[in-house]
């Protein structure tokens, strides 16, 4: 990149910052943490294209055009599988908050790492039942709570038992019901959105919930190998856009909105958590001081361990 000769003295070169930043991010790669929420048998594991029977988070390295993504998936076995599912969302919410708490703890350390390990959940794929007419009571309860702590993307897995008409009607009902319950899904509208962002986001919102078909199998169709499902009446190709929204979902999460997912988690959900935690700590200290003065029992602990907080300078109330 060369500057015109008569501007040599004025040229500093900060216009290469964008390129520099890009190169740095590309070299570092992205960490994308996704949690799958849905009953067993809804097709969660087939969506990941990786066979696992573990309960622990599973990590996969993806690379495309020089961009590296470390994708970590957490499943939620047992969710919604009981006769009485009251409270089944509690462990999920707790997991998400625990990751925020762990990050906060690392961030607060006097000697913290240069690059803090980020296990915060950037996206939650919520699995809808393809048979239902729309949202079930359990879906409404859980979605309301999940959208408060993370970016939620609703998905219809195993959508191969829905005809196109049924799928369209289902998506419409879901959207109506989500709007009625004021359930906020990612991507969120923002006034600073550029026009192409708005158009892109609108097209994403059209597709939601993503009707996908997952497959762990590679099958041969007319000499070609495809990833799909072979029924007695035809073969489903999961990458075929007329068969499933899988390609759109993948592009959405791993390409167009990858950095958005991470950024929004960091700037919105995490900050919200951090603020409420630090406020609690402040109140806790005040209560402890009061209790110490009067000799009463110590109050309950917030999520971030007190030991870390000792290093915080006392702030004036």
């Amino acid at each position: 990149m060369s500057a015109p000769a008569n501007d040599v003295q004025d040229y500093v070169g900060f216009d290469t910052i964008t390129q520099q930043m890009e190169r740095k991010f590309l070299k570092r790669g992205f960490n994308l943490n996704v949690i799958l929420v849905g009953e067993s048998g809804m097709g969660k594991s087939t969506l990941v294209i990786r066979k696992t029977t573990e309960i622990a988070p599973v990590t996969q390295m993806l690379e495309e055009n020089g961009v590296r993504v470390k994708l970590t998936i957490v499943d939620t076995p047992g969710f919604g599988d009981q006769c009485n599912n009251e409270g089944c969302w509690v462990p999920v919410i707790k997991y998400i908050k625990d990751q925020h708490a762990a990050y906060l703890e690392r961030e607060l350390k006097p000697n913290r790492e240069r690059i803090i390990v980020d296990t915060r959940v950037h996206a939650c794929l919520y699995f809808l039942n393809p048979g239902s007419r729309g949202l079930r009571p359990l879906d409404v309860e859980v979605l309301k709570r999940l959208t408060e702590v993370t970016n939620v993307i609703p998905v219809i897995a195993k959508s191969d038992s829905m005809t196109i008409e049924e799928r369209t009607a289902f998506k419409r009902h879901i959207k109506e019901e989500l709007a009625f319950h004021r359930i906020m899904l990612f991507p969120y509208a923002s006034d600073d959105d550029a026009d192409d962002d708005r158009v892109l986001n609108a097209s994403i919102r059209e597709l939601i919930p993503f009707a996908v078909v997952g497959s762990e199998e590679v099958i041969e169709v007319e000499g070609k190998l495809i990833r799909g499902r072979r029924h007695g009446w035809g073969v489903i190709n999961i990458f075929d856009e007329t068969h499933s929204d899988f390609v759109h979902l993948r592009n959405f999460m791993l390409r167009t909105h990858l950095s958005d997912l991470i950024e929004v988690t960091s700037q919105r959900h995490y900050e919200q958590f951090r603020t409420s935690q630090l406020r609690q700590i402040k109140e806790l200290r005040a209560q402890q001081a009061a209790a110490a003065a009067s000799g009463g029992a110590p109050p309950a602990q917030p999520q971030v361990p007190l030991s870390v907080m000792q290093h915080q300078p006392m702030t004036q109330v």
Partner: protein
């Protein structure tokens, strides 16, 4: 069929047993129509309504009443809805009474559902018991005991869920349970085979009593073979659909997907036709008979002797004989 025995003067031969005799075709009651009561149980979205409409070849249950977003998510308490359709099956007239259970399993806490269904089934038994013991009995008594309970299993492809096991365990001694996989077109043929195996294995493990096509006459080789085939098909994988297209002049019920067309009546695509034949033709008498002679009698004994351990003993015997084959 139990005849009145000398030892117990309170036992009278059931006055309804003549209706369940297999060769009732020339019977006056047969001209009026053979009553057959079927209950459909399963979460919404598994195809109960579509199954019924496909079975009766007419829109018995029309589209859902809830159309607006505000109400759609509200957990309606489970209801019992009755529909009656007159069917003609190979010249035999059947009064098909369907009891649907919308709301089953749709809430967050579904534990009440089992009790409600059990109470319903027992109430019908109680009605017969009361009527039997009347001094002046009503020959036109309407027998509303459930002859077959179709339980719709979700096509997860894994194994039975807690709600499936709980329901079938609790109700196996009160009705002939026929397990059915709803929306089975979401499974590939291979997945379906494995799923069926796992379900039947779960059923044995949990000592669940389902209608196992028992051989009533060991000498009838054709029947024995047929029962054995049907046993191997359990649970029935159904695909229901109400769309009919014209193929070579014949009406064919299909589901149109971008990747292919499912034919409901094609035995390779679904067990629907076989199940229909079982319910309305080949096993209608067996189902009615077992309801009367085994399930009802067991209940009656328990009720009259006030001894629940009797029921427990009979249940385990029934389970053993049901699994036996």
């Amino acid at each position: 069929m139990k005849e009145g025995s000398g030892e117990d003067q309170n036992v009278a031969p059931s006055m309804y047993s003549h209706v369940s005799r297999p060769s009732s075709h020339r019977n006056k009651n047969a001209r009026k129509g053979l009553p057959f009561n079927v209950m459909l149980v399963g979460e919404s979205g598994l195809g109960r309504k579509t199954f019924l409409n496909t079975l009766c070849e007419s829109a018995v249950i029309t589209g859902s009443e809830v159309t607006n977003a505000e109400q759609a998510h509200i957990a309606e308490p489970m209801q019992f809805k009755n529909y009656t359709v007159e069917m003609d099956e190979d010249g035999m007239k059947i009064i098909l009474n369907i009891i649907d259970t919308p709301g089953f399993g749709d809430g967050i806490d579904n534990e009440q559902c089992f009790m409600q269904i059990q109470e319903y089934l027992e109430l019908q038994f109680d009605n017969v018991l009361a009527e039997e013991n009347r001094i002046k009995r009503n020959t036109k008594f309407n027998d509303s005991r459930i002859h077959a309970l179709l339980y719709f299993i979700s096509p997860t492809g894994h194994s039975l869920r807690e709600i499936d096991i709980e329901l079938m365990k609790r109700l196996g001694s009160r009705a002939n349970i026929i397990p059915v996989i709803g929306r089975s077109d979401s499974l590939t043929p291979r997945e379906l085979v494995l799923f069926k195996q796992r379900i039947m294995s779960d059923i044995v493990t949990h000592s669940i009593s389902v209608f196992n096509f028992p051989d009533l006459d060991d000498e009838d080789e054709d029947a024995v073979e047929e029962n054995s085939e049907l046993r191997a098909m359990l649970p029935f994988a159904v695909v229901g659909c109400e769309e009919v297209i014209n193929e070579d002049g014949r009406p064919v019920r299909v589901r149109n997907y971008p990747w292919g067309v499912v034919q409901v009546d094609n035995d390779e695509h679904s067990d629907f036709d076989r199940l229909r034949y079982v319910l309305l033709n080949s096993h209608i008498s067996d189902l009615r008979d077992r309801t009367q002679n085994e399930l009802y009698e067991m209940y009656r004994t328990e009720k009259l002797s006030g001894n629940t351990s009797v029921l427990a003993n009979n249940t385990s015997q029934a389970v053993i004989s049901a699994i036996g084959a």
